[in-house]
């Protein structure tokens, strides 16, 4: 009956990290929605984005949001895959693909945030 259950990795760590990142994302998402949609300009104009990015704490929150979002999302996808019995080679390739996808998109996001300059005079 326990033929397909792996003892080595019970998934407990990924379960608890999924809960913690999920709670953090709910809080961050409330802030994100208020910020982006309370006024249409604040989410969609170049100046508004630049003005926000002048605060280092905002950048830090953004980096955290980005990382947690991708971690939570791709860990969730991995959780879906784990529901099905797969050949080991398929499992490893899917995990590898998800990790590569996650790292490259997080890196892309970091690159976008870091390439926004700190401006002296805001107009």
């Amino acid at each position: 009956m326990f033929k397909y259950q792996s003892v080595r990795n019970s998934g407990a760590k990924s379960w608890i990290l999924q809960r913690i990142s999920g709670i953090a994302l709910v809080v961050l998402m409330i802030g994100h929605y208020i910020l982006m949609h309370y006024h249409p300009d604040s989410g969609h104009t170049f100046e508004a984005v630049m003005a926000r990015m002048q605060h280092s704490w905002y950048r830090i929150i953004d980096l955290l949001f980005l990382t947690l979002g991708f971690y939570h999302g791709l860990n969730g996808i991995w959780g879906i895959f784990r529901d099905y019995n797969m050949k080991p080679w398929l499992k490893i390739s899917l995990l590898f693909a998800l990790v590569i996808l996650g790292i490259s998109f997080i890196a892309w996001g970091f690159n976008i945030i870091f390439s926004i300059p700190y401006l002296k005079n805001l107009t």
Partner: protein, 141 residues
């Protein structure tokens, strides 16, 4: 394996669609299904989100041209629909955490109903906030 255990119907993975459909579903099973669908939609959107914001590095003109297309009413409507996925996934996520850590298994059905009520309210509120400028224009303001 005894006879009794053999009689228990187990999940046949090769027929997973059929198996899933044939199950009798209560609120929890629907929550599980919707949670999965909304989760997949949200990670898909997150990829697009990074892609669409990548023009931030190319200066104001490029970024604003791109943003103009996202501010058209059809896109706003899609954004509003996306909020359904965000709302469901967040509210149900809170419900899952309560079930796991706060004895929520005893009241998870009530939580499910409440999250729908809260969700519908927030969805309508967000619709008003997002379209308030269009709504005001209709009344000539």
């Amino acid at each position: 394996m005894s006879e009794e255990i053999k009689k228990i119907k187990t999940f046949d993975q090769r027929e997973w669609i059929k198996e899933n459909i044939s199950y009798r579903k209560d609120s929890g099973s629907w929550a599980w299904i919707y949670h999965r669908i909304s989760g997949i939609a949200l990670i898909g959107y997150l990829f697009l989100h990074i892609y669409s914001l990548s023009t931030l590095t190319e200066g104001k003109a490029v970024f604003e041209t791109k943003m103009q297309s996202f501010l058209s009413p059809p896109f706003l409507a899609l954004e509003w629909l996306l909020f359904i996925f965000v709302l469901f996934h967040s509210l149900n996520g809170v419900r899952i955490v309560l079930v796991d850590w706060a004895d929520g298994a005893k009241y998870h059905k009530t939580l499910y109903r409440f999250s729908w009520i809260i969700g519908i309210f927030l969805f309508l509120l967000m619709g008003y906030i997002m379209f308030s400028h269009e709504i005001l224009k209709l009344f000539g303001k």
